[in-house]
């Protein structure tokens, strides 16, 4: 794993594709880069380790990552802008599963401490803005998934009731 700030323009362009960062100008995205870390991973690198209590939020820029527990795949993130590692920031819990790179992957990480104090007031506000948007995005996605599941279950119940 290597941390790098090279290819800044390329990375800024990739960040601009993330739904939650679309509102930021390129210059602001450069500022975002200043207080986040861009991390490169390769196949099998552990990004988050189950049981640890580090508090870092990750945004997937390119590549894919697996969510694994006891050697079993329980999920995957593969879209630019996918967020992971938010639970420990929200409730301070230890990592409930590991996140492992599924190949060459680029992630942006923000340590929880930055959300409290990123330097000056403007930077802190920007960090908090990103955090709230990230949480809103996660909640919206989960709500959508739950609604879809709810509809499917209702249909199944109706179908069972009608004996079809």
């Amino acid at each position: 794993m290597a941390e790098t700030t090279s290819d800044e323009d390329k990375i800024v362009s990739l960040l601009a594709r993330m739904p939650m960062l679309k509102m930021f100008e390129r210059e602001q995205l450069r500022q975002v880069l200043a207080y986040t870390k861009i991390r490169r991973y390769d196949l099998g690198d552990t990004i988050i380790e189950e049981g640890q209590n580090d508090q870092t939020l990750f945004f997937l820029i390119t590549g894919n990552v697996y969510v694994v527990k006891n050697g079993v795949n329980i999920g995957e993130f593969s879209n630019t802008g996918d967020i992971f590692g938010e639970m420990s920031i929200i409730d301070g819990s230890v990592r409930s599963a590991s996140i492992v790179a599924g190949g060459k992957s680029l992630c942006m990480s923000i340590a929880a401490t930055f959300f409290e104090n990123a330097g000056n007031e403007q930077q802190t506000l920007m960090c908090q803005n990103i955090l709230f948007r990230a949480i809103a995005q996660i909640l919206a996605e989960r709500l959508r998934t739950m609604n879809e599941d709810n509809i499917t279950l209702r249909k199944e119940i109706e179908s069972l009731k009608s004996g079809r």
Binding site: L43, E49, Y66, N70, G102
Partner: protein, 277 residues
């Protein structure tokens, strides 16, 4: 660290040893996925309840040996190269860092399985495209009167893709529609043997037999339809009409009666019965 009973610890150690042994056997056989799965199973047990004492000192070197063997395996290296992974060794066993090794091998297994699945899908797409091409061109050639070339293409489709559901039946139907019942019945007979539950091939085969005046073969096929799919009023009516055309009036009456007995709305069956009644 979880606390386990002595018996459980002995059982865990046995299981880890057995899984590592299996992993070694599979890698020697060249089955990388099964090998890594067995090793993941061993690691999962070990991570859940770490080994102690003599078991630890025996098993950990075996695990380290496996990781080394795995990282130096030709197939593993080739696969890693294909996904542009160059760091060597891929995995190194470090006591106390079992979780990281487990994660690394789990990612390897998932990636390899995904790549294999994608390759198999691509191969299937390629095969489907080839089949579509043979069927389309074969049909076009038959329809445009270039019978010899068309038949060659369709027969090639039947030979190469005959094990795929519906292909033989489709080839036979194309030949029948183009006016080659002899060639069609040959392919359709094969279709009925390979896919006895596909009603389309029986239907086309009977048509092909009738087009050639082969009533005995058509009769045999009708009887097979009943044997395979069970009695059906429409089948009985069709048989009745078939016997009528063949001038086997008693049988025509008999099957019309069976058809009407099962479905009294079949007026055609009633008409045949009335004709001889």
């Amino acid at each position: 660290m979880p606390v386990v009973s002595y018996e459980q610890a002995v059982e865990n150690a046995k299981r880890v040893k057995a899984d590592v042994a299996r992993a070694k056997i599979y890698i020697a056989r060249g089955d990388i996925l099964k090998s890594v799965e067995a090793f993941i199973s061993a690691l999962t047990v070990k991570v859940g309840a770490p080994l102690a004492g003599s078991d630890k000192s025996v098993i950990e070197p075996q695990m380290a040996e496996f990781c080394e063997e795995f990282s130096n395996n030709y197939q593993v290296i080739e696969f890693l190269k294909s996904i542009d992974y160059t760091e060597k060794p891929f995995v190194k066993f470090r006591p106390g860092l079992d979780g990281k090794v487990l994660n690394k091998l789990t990612a390897f297994r998932l990636k390899k399985a995904a790549v294999e699945e994608e390759a198999s899908k691509a191969q299937e797409r390629e095969r489907q495209a080839k089949l579509d091409e043979l069927l389309t061109k074969g049909k076009e050639l038959l329809d445009s009167g270039q019978a010899a070339k068309g038949k060659v293409m369709l027969k090639r489709a039947a030979e190469q893709f005959g094990s795929k559901d519906g292909v033989l039946s489709e080839v036979g139907k194309f030949m029948l529609d183009a006016g080659y019942p002899g060639d069609a019945s040959e392919v359709l007979r094969q279709a009925m043997v390979s896919f006895p539950k596909d009603p389309a091939s029986y239907k086309s085969y009977i048509e092909a037999c009738l087009a050639q005046g082969k009533n005995e073969e058509a009769e045999e096929a009708y009887l097979n339809v009943i044997k395979v799919f069970g009695p059906h009023p429409q089948t009985y009516l069709n048989m009745s009409k078939f016997y009528l055309a063949w001038r086997k009036n008693e049988l025509a009456y008999d099957y019309a009666q069976r058809a009407f007995g099962m479905d009294s709305s079949l007026t055609e069956a009633k008409q045949i019965m009335d004709r001889f009644g």
